[in-house]
Every structure is written in structure tokens, then in C-alpha cells.
Symmetry: C2
Subunit: 234 residues, 2 copies
């Protein structure tokens, strides 16, 4: 029976796709992928290109990155309806998403619309911050350590508490909340324990180990992540 | 130049290894793997078996699971010394570890001993709880949600705070702290929001969605994980 597959591509390197992702991509009839902002190929599509059949039907679709929920929901509804129709016509359909499909992915909104209508299967991927830790070879957690993952846009009180309570704290999207984050890290004397990664696994990747020199005015890429390693020296 | 590779095998399915893991395993001269408790093959070795060369040298080594740090350190020292000697003789050497090498893996202790002596590279893997979320198709985090990962053996106050603060909480090794965890989940009315997975991705895997029926006396497998999904209905 035809199926809808969500596939995590991993963070950027084609070799970090799973063998399962590779096999599924090789057998589907149609691939949906988010449309890149500036023309050309999306990063997700670039990652999986080595594994695609020549005659594969590729449907790039626009996912609006706006604050109005209605606009986004209308787009998700329309794309989900198209996917459901394709699968009901007997096509095996895949959707690719950066990193892991269950961690901060727009795929979740497609999935909840498609589930119940046609059969679905989701293939895990390596998340960008896991790859950062592996690439730096600095363990996220050992033994009885703990970690937390949260957007830097969260309440100051929550971020402060997370920094106090957990061995390792991963802050997503730090570019839009830099002054607040620097203040909190300074207060807890954690600037030297923090690694900043912009555009993880992309060609423009930049890694800063210890952010004592970083200022509130720094212009960071939208895809900037900090890993605060309270228990590590580097 | 010869190198030491740490490879995350993912949680259990050979297809969840990365393409990179597959390529590296296919080119190394020697593979170190943890010795299974009851003879036979370790789960990590089973996972990668489809990708191994016929003439690959496999060295199963014993990692003591005891509370005395000295005993464990002596074993890590000895295995690390053996690995360093192999690489210095020109062999490419891999070590395989379940899940991801940077998340609660004994590999971290080998890595810190081998780093600086020979060249090292670490290949990320899918962690067991990420695979649980993908297999259930229930997102760990969406939008501005947050999550925390911690051993159930941690202080009651920390676990309580984590359950209050984060959208999703992943509790590792719940078997050894079940009464405490059930009490905390009951107090916050989260039993119905909790998924219990024992032996994730193994043949003996058991999944319980909503743990209202679970009692303090239940005998759970050592490898039992709970995902507390505060924002999901299932």
C-alpha cells in the first residue's frame, strides 16, 4: 500500500542521512521539499540529491515563515491535501526535513494533517546540535548528567533556571535574543563554558569556543545555537 | 594516516545507522566492541554486522558495569592503550556504541583517553529516545517548546522542577527509581501524558501509552525510558 514518509535528512552532510532514509528515498515516486528562499535548491534537497532516482518527481512547496498562524495553516492544509491525494492515487510520497523530524520541524504540522488519512512513517535524523557535539567531540552528557534544549526566546526566568539546574544547556535561535542570553551567561560566569555555532554543518559554519569576546551588538546568523557545557573544560 | 573512529550505531535497527557509519565500518581494519553480558553478540555488533568486511578483526572487550570507579577506569585505560597501539601501528580502528556517542555513552571515557595520542573522529547516531518519538510519530518539540533529558535517579527536586518547566521531559533509567517518578507524575497529573518504553528498538520492546495502570511494584527492564509529553494528547 502507498505511504507517506517523513525523512530527517540530518544537519547538512549527505553521509549523515540514515541507511533507512536512503532506502526510502530510492523507492518513493514523489518527493516534497520546502522551497528555498532565494531560488536554487533547498539545503534538505541538496543533502539527499546523491540518493534520488533520475525520474523522481520533485515538488518544491512554499512554507511561509511569517507570524500569522492563519497564513501558515492555510499553506500546511494545502500541501497536506496534495500529499494525501498523491498517496491515495497509489504514489509513495516522501517529505524531507533538516535534522530530525520530531525536533522543531515544520514536518510535525504536515504529519498531523496527513495522519489518519493515509498511512505514515517517520524516519529519524541526526539533529544539528547532536552533530555539533560529535564534530567537536565534546560529550553532551555523561553518567548522571542532564541536559535541556530550549529556544533562546523563552522567558528569562526559565533560561536562568535551566542554566542553574542542568549540566548542559542547548539554546536554539540565539541571534534574536543575544543581549538577554549574554547577560544570563555572564551572571552565572558561563561565557567561557559556552560554544557558539552558526550555520551548523553548512558551508558557512562558524564555531566559537568560549564566547567571552562576543558583544550584544554582534550580528549572528538566524541559525545560531549555543551549547553551554557547565561540566567541561576546553 | 590511521585514525580512531567512534561510531554511534543508533538504537537497534541496522537501517538506522548513518551512511557515514556504514562507510567508515567498511574501511577500518579493526573493530572494538563491548562484550555482551551473556555470551553471543552485543546489540551494537548485531546492528553493524550487515556492513562488516569478512576479514575484519573484531576485538570484544569487557566494560565492567560496577560502582567502583577504579575498576572501570582500569578497564578504560587498558582498552584505550590497546586502541592507541593499534592506530600507531597504522591500523584504522573503530569503536561502536549504541545510540549517539555524545549522549550517555561509555565511549566518552575511551575518547578522552585516546584524544591527543592519535587522530580521532566521532560519527553521530540516532539516540533511543529520538527513535521512540519517530516510531510513535509524536513530536518531541514544536515551535517554542522545550525539552529536558535526565536520569530518573536525579534528586526529586530537580525532576519536579523539570516536569514543571519543560514541555517534554525524557526520564532515563526509570526502573531504579519508579516509586519516586510515579509520585511526581501523579502529583502533577501527568500519568496519562506519559509514554513508557522498555528495551526501545530491541526485539523485547514494550510501549505503554499512558501509565495510569503502572504500579510502584512493577518490574521494569533496566533499559526503560519515559517520555512525559505535557502538550500532547494521545
Amino acid at each position: 500500500m502507498a505511504k507517506f514518509y517523513g525523512i530527517g535528512t540530518g544537519p547538512g552532510d549527505s553521509d549523515l542521512l540514515t541507511v533507512k532514509g536512503q532506502k526510502v528515498l530510492n523507492q518513493v515516486d514523489c518527493l516534497y521539499t520546502p522551497e528555498p528562499k532565494k531560488g536554487g535548491k533547498s539545503l534538505a534537497l541538496k543533502i539527499v540529491t546523491p540518493y534520488l532516482k533520475e525520474d523522481l518527481e520533485i515538488k518544491q512547496r512554499h512554507f511561509p515563515m511569517v507570524n500569522t498562524l492563519e497564513t501558515k495553516q492555510a499553506a500546511w492544509d494545502a500541501i497536506a491535501a496534495e500529499i494525501i491525494a498523491d498517496v491515495q492515487q497509489g504514489k509513495n510520497v516522501a517529505f524531507i526535513t533538516l535534522g530530525d523530524p520530531m525536533i522543531y520541524s515544520t514536518y510535525a504540522y504536515l504529519l498531523e494533517r496527513v495522519q489518519g488519512e493515509v498511512e505514515t512513517e517517520t524516519v529519524a535524523g541526526i539533529s544539528s546540535f547532536t552533530q555539533i557535539a560529535n564534530s567537536l567531540q565534546i560529550p553532551l552528557v555523561m553518567d548522571d548528567e542532564s541536559y535541556a534544549v530550549l529556544p533562546a526566546t523563552k522567558d528569562e526566568a526559565l533560561i536562568k533556571a535551566a542554566l542553574e539546574m542542568f549540566s548542559t544547556v542547548i539554546l536554539m535561535k540565539v541571534s534574536v535574543a543575544l543581549p538577554k542570553i549574554l547577560k544570563l551567561l555572564r551572571e552565572q560566569d558561563l561565557l567561557e563554558q559556552t560554544i557558539l555555532v552558526s550555520d551548523a554543518s553548512m558551508e558557512t559554519e562558524e564555531i566559537t569556543v568560549g564566547i567571552q569576546e562576543l558583544t550584544e551588538e554582534a550580528k549572528l546568523s538566524y541559525f545560531s545555537t549555543m551549547i553551554v557545557y557547565k561540566n567541561r573544560d576546553f
